[in-house]
C-alpha cells in the first residue's frame, strides 16, 4: 500500500510529512538506547514481511505486520516504520522521498492507536491476549487501508474509484494479518516475554516448551 511519487498534490504531501515528523519526534523521544536493538529487529521484520508472499485464494498478498509493531513499540512504531520505508524506497523504489511522509503516516498512525486500545487487554489472561492481538493485527491493516485510500481520495474526486478498489482488495489481508498477529504474540508471550517492555500474560511454561520445539524442529 505505498503511494507512488508524483501522484498526490503538494498540500497533502506537505501536511502528511509534517504530521509524520511530529510522530517520529515523539517516537524518538520515547526510544531509549537500550531498546534500539529490539526496535531495529521489528523494523527489519516489517521490511522483510513485505517480501513474504502468502497465498490468499488464487492470488498472493504480502504481510504488513504493522499491528504487531504497534503492540510492541507504541509511538516508537513511527521511527521504526519510517526507517523501514526509507530502506524500501532506496532499495526497491517503493514509494519515495516526497511520499515518505504520507506512507509513514498511513502505516504508523494505526498501530499507535491500536497500542492504546488493545495493550491493556494483553495483561488480562490468555484468551484476552489472543483476542487483543487478533483485533490489533486486523484493525491496524484495516485502518491503514482506510487512511491510504482516504489520502488517495483527498487527491481529487477522480481518485475515488482507485481508492475504493484499494480498500476492498485489502479485506482478506486484514483477516490473515489478525490471525498471524494473534499466533505471533501468543508465541512471544510464552517463549520470550522479555521482548515486550511491559507486563504481559505469560501462559504456563510447559506449553511454551512444547510450542517452541515444534516450531523449530
Amino acid at each position: 500500500m505505498h503511494i507512488a511519487e508524483g501522484v498526490l498534490p503538494p498540500v497533502i504531501l506537505a501536511s502528511c510529512a509534517i504530521l509524520s515528523a511530529g510522530g517520529v519526534c515523539i517516537g524518538l523521544k520515547k526510544l531509549d538506547y537500550d531498546r534500539i536493538m529490539t526496535t531495529a529487529i521489528l523494523s527489519a521484520s516489517f521490511f522483510v514481511a513485505s517480501l513474504i508472499h502468502i497465498p490468499i485464494g488464487p492470488v498472493s498478498g504480502h504481510l504488513i505486520l504493522n499491528g504487531l509493531l504497534g503492540l510492541m513499540l507504541g509511538w516508537v512504531a513511527f521511527p521504526a516504520i519510517l526507517v523501514a520505508l526509507t530502506l524500501q524506497a532506496i532499495l526497491f523504489q517503493f514509494g519515495g522521498i516526497t511520499s515518505l511522509g504520507v506512507n509513514t503516516l498511513n502505516m504508523a498512525l494505526p498501530p499507535v492507536l491500536c497500542f492504546y486500545i488493545f495493550r491493556p487487554m494483553l495483561s488480562k489472561g490468555t484468551f484476552s491476549l489472543r483476542m487483543a492481538a487478533f483485533l490489533c493485527g486486523m484493525s491496524a491493516v484495516a485502518f491503514s487501508a482506510l487512511l491510504t485510500s482516504g489520502t488517495l481520495a483527498l487527491g481529487g474526486d477522480s481518485f475515488l474509484n482507485s481508492a475504493k478498489i484499494l480498500l476492498i482488495s485489502s479485506v482478506p489481508v486484514m483477516v490473515i494479518e489478525g490471525l498471524i498477529t494473534a499466533v505471533v504474540v501468543g508465541f512471544l508471550a510464552k517463549v520470550s516475554p522479555q521482548i515486550f517492555d511491559f507486563k504481559i500474560t505469560a501462559p504456563d511454561p510447559v506449553m511454551a516448551a512444547q510450542t517452541s520445539s515444534s516450531a523449530t524442529e
Partner: protein
C-alpha cells in the same frame, strides 16, 4: 537475493559522497512533485533518464524494476481516465474517457518516472551503510541514523533465518495454500525468527557495550566528500528548481 543490486559499479555516481546525493535527490524530487504541466514533466523525465545513463546500471535489472514500479501507475491508467470529469474523447458501454483524465494520468506517469529514475541514479548507487553515515553527516537525529544502520544489519539476519526455517518447512512437505494451517505455520515461523533475532541482538548489544560503544559507527570504506560532489549536487538541485520556476511562471507557454 541481492538487495543492493545497483550499488556495485564504477560510474561517477557510485563514487560520489552519499550526503550530497541525498540532498540533490531530495530537492530534485520535491521540485518535480510540484510540477503541473506536461511539458516540464517531460523535461524532468529526460533529466532523470540522462542521470540513469551516467550511472551505467545493468539494463535488465533496471527495466524489471521500472516495470514493477509502474504497476501502480498502470492501475491508475485503468481508473483515472474514466473517472475524471471533462471533455469526452471516447466512450464505450457507459464508460467515458475524458481528455482531462488522460492528461492527469499522463502527468502523474511522467512525474513519477522522473522522480524514480533520478532516485535510482543517485541513491540506489550508494551502499546503505554509506547513506546511513551520510544521514549522520546531515544532522539527522543520532537515534534515527543508528536505527537505520541496525535495521539494515538485521534485515540480513532475519532474511537468512527466515530462509533457513522455510527451507526446513519445505523439506518436511509444507506446501502453502489458503488455509489456517498455512497461516499458523507462517506465524510460528515469524515468531521463531523474532525470538532468535532478539536473542542475538541482545548478545550483540551487550558485546558492543562491553567494548565501549558510544553511539557512533566508524565506516571502513568512507567515501571522501570532494568539491566536485557539492558542485554536481548543486547542478541537479538547480535543474529541479529551474524546472519548478519554469512551471510556476508558465515560461513554456511563452515559447
Amino acid at each position: 537475493m541481492s538487495l543492493e543490486s545497483f550499488a556495485e559499479g564504477t560510474s561517477p555516481f557510485h563514487t560520489m559522497d552519499a550526503a550530497s546525493k541525498v540532498v540533490a535527490a531530495t530537492l530534485f524530487s520535491i521540485c518535480t512533485a510540484l510540477l503541473t504541466s506536461i511539458s516540464t514533466a517531460c523535461v524532468a523525465l529526460v533529466i532523470g533518464i540522462t542521470l540513469l545513463c551516467i550511472a551505467q546500471l545493468p539494463i535488465k535489472t533496471l527495466c524489471r524494476r521500472l516495470l514493477f514500479i509502474n504497476a501502480f501507475i498502470a492501475f491508475l491508467w485503468l481508473t483515472l481516465p474514466v473517472s475524471t470529469a471533462g471533455t469526452p474523447v471516447y466512450s464505450l458501454g457507459g464508460f467515458t474517457v475524458t481528455q482531462e483524465g488522460i492528461d492527469l494520468t499522463l502527468l502523474i506517469t511522467l512525474k513519477s518516472n522522473a522522480i524514480i529514475t533520478t532516485f535510482i541514479a543517485l541513491l540506489a548507487t550508494s551502499n546503505v551503510t554509506d547513506i546511513g553515515s551520510g544521514f549522520a553527516k546531515l544532522h539527522v537525529p543520532q537515534k534515527l541514523s543508528l536505527l537505520f544502520l541496525f535495521t539494515w544489519r538485521y534485515i540480513h539476519v532475519i532474511l537468512e533465518e527466515y530462509k533457513r526455517l522455510s527451507t526446513a518447512a519445505t523439506l518436511r512437505g509444507f506446501i502453502p495454500t489458503t488455509n489456517s494451517h498455512t497461516y499458523k505455520t507462517y506465524a510460528n515461523l515469524i515468531a521463531m525468527v523474532l525470538v532468535k533475532s532478539h536473542d542475538r541482538a541482545e548478545r550483540v548489544s551487550n558485546a558492543m557495550k562491553l567494548r565501549g560503544f558510544d553511539g557512533t559507527f566508524h565506516s571502513l570504506h568512507r567515501t571522501q566528500a570532494q568539491a566536485t560532489d557539492a558542485v554536481v549536487a548543486a547542478i541537479i538541485a538547480f535543474l529541479g528548481t529551474a524546472l519548478f520556476a519554469a512551471d510556476y511562471f508558465q515560461l513554456t507557454e511563452l515559447l
